[in-house]
Symmetry: C2
Subunit: 403 residues, 2 copies
């Protein structure tokens, strides 16, 4: 089967909206093994919509349109499909009744324009839209081809293609691939690729790497769950302890879960990250079971008064030093009464660097039940990415210690 | 002038990459008053690239391609242009010399495949690429139409279209609109729209609203700087103190700049935001001049021991209360020795809410040279958006006090 996408919306062409729906649709089609060679985008113009659909029907078996299904005058995809296929718009009684019922239930004022959403090209099957008023439509044509239309708001579009379209494609003999994300931190994408080189060409599963700011995600996709799991485990084994999760767990979630399992508590002492480490830990619902809190010791004065960093350390070694990081972590552990404490002090830039201590230099120290370790990093990037990477380094150090 | 976009890249059709370049290009074309009725995307296939360019040339005066200009075998946009236009690829000596020089300077190994980037359709003018190896190209055709090609990596693409393409379009009689962003916080998009309703239809300038998680941005665009400034000032006047900046300054930048002007210092005390407020303040380079640090008093124990919140307050009023917020801010001001301190305590969810204190309830308190205020909010959204909105509320309260 070959599919083609037609996105409808003047806001797309004006660049007011990035067409993330089309990317999502591309993933679903790829997962289901449907070929996808062309994508088009046109504005809210019946003639151009119809031409785009006709061109797509000349090249593909399934034409999927995105957007233009709402109740306003601008929403002209239904008219465009009718014009392209020669099938007139007819009122779909059940859809109209559903719409009227929805408005009654939500106590909304019914406007006559809402009824446009129930005018579908003759022969259309409406596609339920659990998050909006405009249904999609699935229109089989006499030559065996199909035009399918979905609404444009992502919170309506995404669940409809992720469930209804996947199911329909499966029923037509295109079951989706099963995919598992292997989540990696502490090594870069090129090293991950080098370690996985032979796996990237595997006939058993599709393996692809995606670089994030402080992580690499390896996506494994295969025709069945067993094949995907086998390959994901092989990737995990190859990459070793740099893999922090298979699936959807984030690095803070893994750290919080391990602390919960061990019934141990955590405190932080932050300088250059200024709160982002605590912010990451507390992004996890339920982190209050293990996270006590911490210290933003941004000024040297507060490093001394809140955390007990020695004046001699600040004067002789400086605030960005192994000694200062260790004293910060020890001070946080003591003041918060926590089992674990982790500190971050570094130079996030753009100013403040020197030859001896360049921008990107970060010291992380961790104290726990079995002692203290310190870790030096030289992180690339700008102020924002250096800080994000420092947070990931700190969390990863803790994760490895909690193993 | 009418333009059409052709994005090249199999990764785009597979949905591995969202085509944000095409949106950026759409903005530039719209700003320069160039009509833009069609966009296409095709994979890395010479035949399909050539067909897409031919179709685009049949409908538009300027065809802009994105991607497929690199040195690898997959990068076939140059071949596609040659095939579509019938103009052979010829070695562009100056471009080749520049490439070889670049590799020498960066101490990179020269691979023969790199030379492909200097093979341009006959008659092409290379477009300089300050951030990569592949130049773009501008190819005027015999019928007066033009094919322009740009590389796909956003850090190469964006500056090339924002500077070179804008300049070229201006020299062809399409000067860009001047745009100014009016940055608003503390009121929602629908209220902003209501207040600006007559301005949204103004013939003097384009005025459009964009909702962010905790802000609304109003983009004003007009044919000259004076018209844009006049309209932006009118928007600012209409919206009053909810406008925190005209231009590109962020809310934390405005707060830090005002503290710098006043030579006053800040400390924070965070509960539900867990460090995100400090993280926002320290996102600003140079914030160390005014930000001393703060306290992540996530547990009730630390609220008492670090900030001196009274046990009676925690027991009778609870941690999410006006009294607790005030005592947290006072404690942070005292312990840090700061001129200003601001505290945040709330229920970010998803658990922990009650009828009396629902998820989204946030108390913010601020102490400064002239006393103390507390502010109650009931914020919508999930855990992440409630926390982000709480940070914006806190910064905005401080901004208004610093006025």
């Amino acid at each position: 089967m070959r599919a083609e996408t037609v996105t409808v919306g003047t806001e797309i062409l004006l660049g007011q909206t990035v067409d993330s729906n089309a990317a999502r649709l591309g993933q679903v089609l790829a997962d289901c093994g449907v070929d996808h060679y062309h994508r088009q985008a046109v504005g809210d113009n019946v003639g151009r919509i119809a031409e785009a659909i006709q061109l797509a029907l000349s090249r593909a078996d399934l034409v999927v349109t995105i957007g233009g299904l709402g109740p306003t005058e601008d929403d002209t995809t239904r008219e465009g499909v009718a014009k392209a296929t020669g099938l007139p718009l007819v009122e779909h009684a059940e859809t109209l009744a559903d719409l009227e019922e929805l408005f009654r239930r939500r106590n909304l004022t019914w406007l006559e324009s809402q009824a446009r959403q129930a005018h579908l090209p003759r022969g259309s099957e409406p596609i339920p839209n659990p998050n909006g008023t405009a249904p999609g439509l699935w229109l089989p044509l006499a030559d065996g081809k199909v035009v399918a239309c979905f609404p444009g708001p992502p919170r309506e579009f995404n669940p409809m293609v992720e469930t209804w379209l996947r199911d329909r494609l499966a029923s037509l003999g295109h079951p989706p691939l099963v995919s598992i994300t292997v989540r990696v931190t502490g090594i870069g994408e090129s090293l991950v690729e080098e370690k996985l080189r032979d796996m990237l060409d595997s006939p058993l599963a599709t393996v692809a790497t995606y670089a994030k700011t402080a992580e690499v995600h390896v996506r494994v996709a295969a025709k069945g769950l067993a094949a995907a799991q086998t390959m994901a485990e092989a990737v995990r084994e190859r990459l070793g302890p740099n893999v922090y999760a298979l699936g959807s767990s984030t690095l803070p979630e893994v750290v919080v879960a391990r602390l919960c399992d061990r019934r141990e508590t955590l405190a932080v002492a932050e300088s250059c990250t200024g709160g982002l480490l605590g912010g990451a830990v507390t992004s996890v619902a339920g982190s209050s079971d293990v996270f006590l809190g911490g210290f933003l010791a941004y000024s040297n004065g507060l490093k001394a008064s809140l955390l007990g960093v020695a004046q001699s350390t600040l004067e002789r070694r400086g605030a960005v030093s192994e000694e200062c990081a260790v004293e910060m972590a020890q001070g946080a552990q003591r003041a918060a009464g926590a089992d674990w404490a982790i500190s971050v002090t570094g130079i996030a830039g753009p100013g403040g660097g020197s030859e001896e201590k360049p921008v990107g230099l970060v010291w992380i120290a961790m104290v726990g039940p079995s002692g203290c370790v310190a870790h030096r990093s030289l992180l690339p990037g700008n102020r924002a990415t250096i800080r994000e990477r420092a947070v990931a380094r700190a969390l990863n150090l803790l994760r490895l210690a909690l193993d």
